[in-house]
């Protein structure tokens, strides 16, 4: 399924190299804050890749995916609040809760289709958002600052996430792992089932696949990966707030997926990069940048629906 296709592959390698080299490039060109932007790009890319799995490959339009960012972030934040800073406890728990809540939410939502699915995923995200807002102990609306990043230590070997450079490459490594993982999944037997479900669910049931089980597992996997992005985000910003799971964040995630090219493994990385950079540039030009950004998004939907990946290749199967 992986084929070398010149402009596409070169472009993707370029982006990855750009990410890898940014801590060196940024100070060189005198724009040190670019490292922060790329940090956010990579974290959002992880979240967007997870959404692409259910949206681009599985055809499930979830308008509540940002809830997992909140679940991951808040698990970390709450544990840190109670002075549990061991990453080996925080991270598995964050992923576990993401998975469990993903399973519960998914079990209800996947009974619906189309617009109902969009609305019910939005509704669940709202519920969890309100849970965060009402959690006065943890800052409610205003959010809560976290003073300690996750500590990872085995014996005398430790990973200091407080060091920006280390944290940057740790995130980069995680993004590569997620890319590799999702690439494997979409080309595996499971991935073929998911893609078949999007293509023709009726036929899938006729040939013997039970849609519910597979879609649910896919939803849970996507939730867990997004929870990972959430705990990364909370660490990176040293801050958690219900805003992480605001429904507009879910909308932005969908946009990143569409911008980069829905149904491609690497697309969300490009989408995240373009989205965040555009936001950054525009917001520096004018305080009222949504006046331009909003119509831009509309134009993308109207005229560049297949995203950046669509600019490169004709209709193609997914590959890395």
């Amino acid at each position: 399924m992986s084929k070398l296709r010149s402009p596409n592959v070169v472009f993707r390698i370029f982006i990855l190299l750009l990410c890898a080299a940014m801590p060196v490039i940024a100070p060189l060109v005198g724009e040190p804050y670019w490292v922060d932007i790329f940090m956010r790009v990579m974290i959002w890319a992880i979240a967007a890749i997870s959404l692409d799995l259910i949206l681009g490959f599985g055809g499930m339009v979830s308008f509540g995916h940002a809830m997992f960012l909140g679940i991951g972030g808040y698990t970390f934040g709450i544990l840190a609040y109670y002075e549990i800073t061991n990453g080996f406890i925080q991270w598995p728990l964050a992923l576990l809760f993401s998975g469990v809540i993903g399973a519960v939410v998914g079990a209800i939502c996947i009974r619906t289709k189309g617009v109902y699915f969009i609305m019910i995923t939005l509704a669940f995200a709202q519920m969890i958002y309100f849970l965060g807002v009402s959690a006065e102990e943890f800052g409610s609306d205003d959010g809560m600052t976290i003073y300690d990043r996750s500590q990872f230590a085995i014996g005398s070997v430790s990973l200091d996430l407080g060091d920006p450079l280390i944290f940057y490459y740790f995130t980069f490594a995680l993004m590569l792992v997620v890319l590799w993982l999702v690439q494997k999944i979409v080309n595996s037997r499971f991935g073929m089932v998911i893609r078949g479900m999007q293509s023709n669910e009726g036929r899938m049931t006729a040939i013997g696949f039970d849609p519910f089980r597979y879609k649910l597992v896919c939803f849970v996997i996507a939730g867990v990966i997004c929870g990972l992005a959430g705990i990364l985000m909370a660490n990176a910003e040293d801050f958690i707030s219900p805003d992480m799971m605001h429904w507009t964040k879910s909308g932005e995630l969908i946009f990143m997926v569409v911008l980069g090219g829905m149904g491609t493994v690497f697309g969300p990385v490009t989408g995240s990069l373009v989205f965040l950079f555009l936001s950054e540039i525009l917001s520096n030009i004018t305080h009222n940048w949504h006046l331009i950004f909003g119509p831009f998004l509309v134009l993308v939907v109207l005229f560049a629906r297949r995203g950046i990946d669509g600019l490169f290749s004709k209709r193609e199967k997914p590959d890395a």
Binding site: M192, N200, T205, A206, G208, V217, K317
Partner: protein
């Protein structure tokens, strides 16, 4: 004494004021080819949908090898040995021909909660899939996206996918729909080659194919079975001729 593999008892289905299936009773014997014919709008596809599990009947029972499958979901029926091809092509247009066939094979090769090994390199899927494609004559088109091949090739793929599950009962809904004479002949020859190895419930308008293949013919008009019997009996049956005369020459001319 051949076994009754499919027993349809008192099956009823209405859509608002329209009765599509009107108390249908039909027995199908193992390994026979039972062709269902009837004018357009007789409810043939509705009947097949209730047999395959994509539509719930209002009343009645369907027994498969003695087991009540009336309310079972489609995917369960597939694993019991029922396979279906569609009148309006229903394949995976986004995938290649080979991927289509491989998916159909995969559905019956254990569970699919396998996340790492690439499906395209899985010989347990690819080999049977290629074999199926060869049987229906699509082997050389295997790597083309399903979207780009011809309508006739879509119909061939339909059959291949239905056969992938090694079914005991094949529900074929107008397999020759939209095919020219040469393609229809090829399809008829192919169905001849598998006749007797699997039970086939064949819905078709192409009378040449029907009379060439069928062991028995069932005639469905306005949701009711008005006659069942050997081809010669049906040909001579007055009720049948009347039902078809109403349709004009269309039925004799084939698809």
């Amino acid at each position: 004494m051949p076994e009754k593999i499919l027993q349809i008892q008192g099956l009823c289905k209405s859509f608002g004021g329209l009765t599509a299936t009107d108390n249908v009773n039909l027995d199908v014997f193992e390994n026979e080819v039972n062709a269902i014919i009837g004018p357009n709008g007789a409810g043939k596809t509705t009947l097949v949908a209730q047999l395959s599990g994509s539509l719930d009947p209002d009343a009645g029972q369907v027994l498969f090898a003695g087991q009540d499958i009336t309310r079972l979901p489609a995917h369960t029926r597939s694993h019991l040995g029922i396979a279906r091809s569609y009148q309006i092509t229903s394949i995976f247009l986004d995938l290649t021909i080979l991927e289509n066939a491989a998916l159909a094979v995969q559905a019956h090769d254990g569970h699919s909660f396998q996340f790492f090994k690439p499906a395209a390199e899985d010989r347990r899927l690819i080999d049977p899939a290629m074999e199926l494609l060869e049987r229906v004559g699509l082997a050389d088109r295997a790597h083309l996206p399903a979207r780009v091949v011809s309508h006739g090739e879509h119909r061939q793929l339909e059959i291949a996918m239905a056969l992938a599950s090694k079914p005991r009962l094949l529900l074929l809904d107008e397999p020759m729909a939209g095919m020219g004479p040469e393609e229809s002949q090829r399809m008829t020859d192919f169905l001849q080659s598998i006749k007797g190895t699997v039970t086939i419930l064949l819905i078709e308008h192409d009378m040449d194919a029907v009379f060439a293949l069928a062991d028995r013919i069932s005639v469905l008009v306005y949701g009711r079975v008005i006659a069942v019997g050997a081809p010669e009996e049906i040909r001579a049956n007055l009720d049948v001729r009347e039902a078809y005369l109403g349709e004009g020459e269309a039925s004799d001319a084939g698809s």
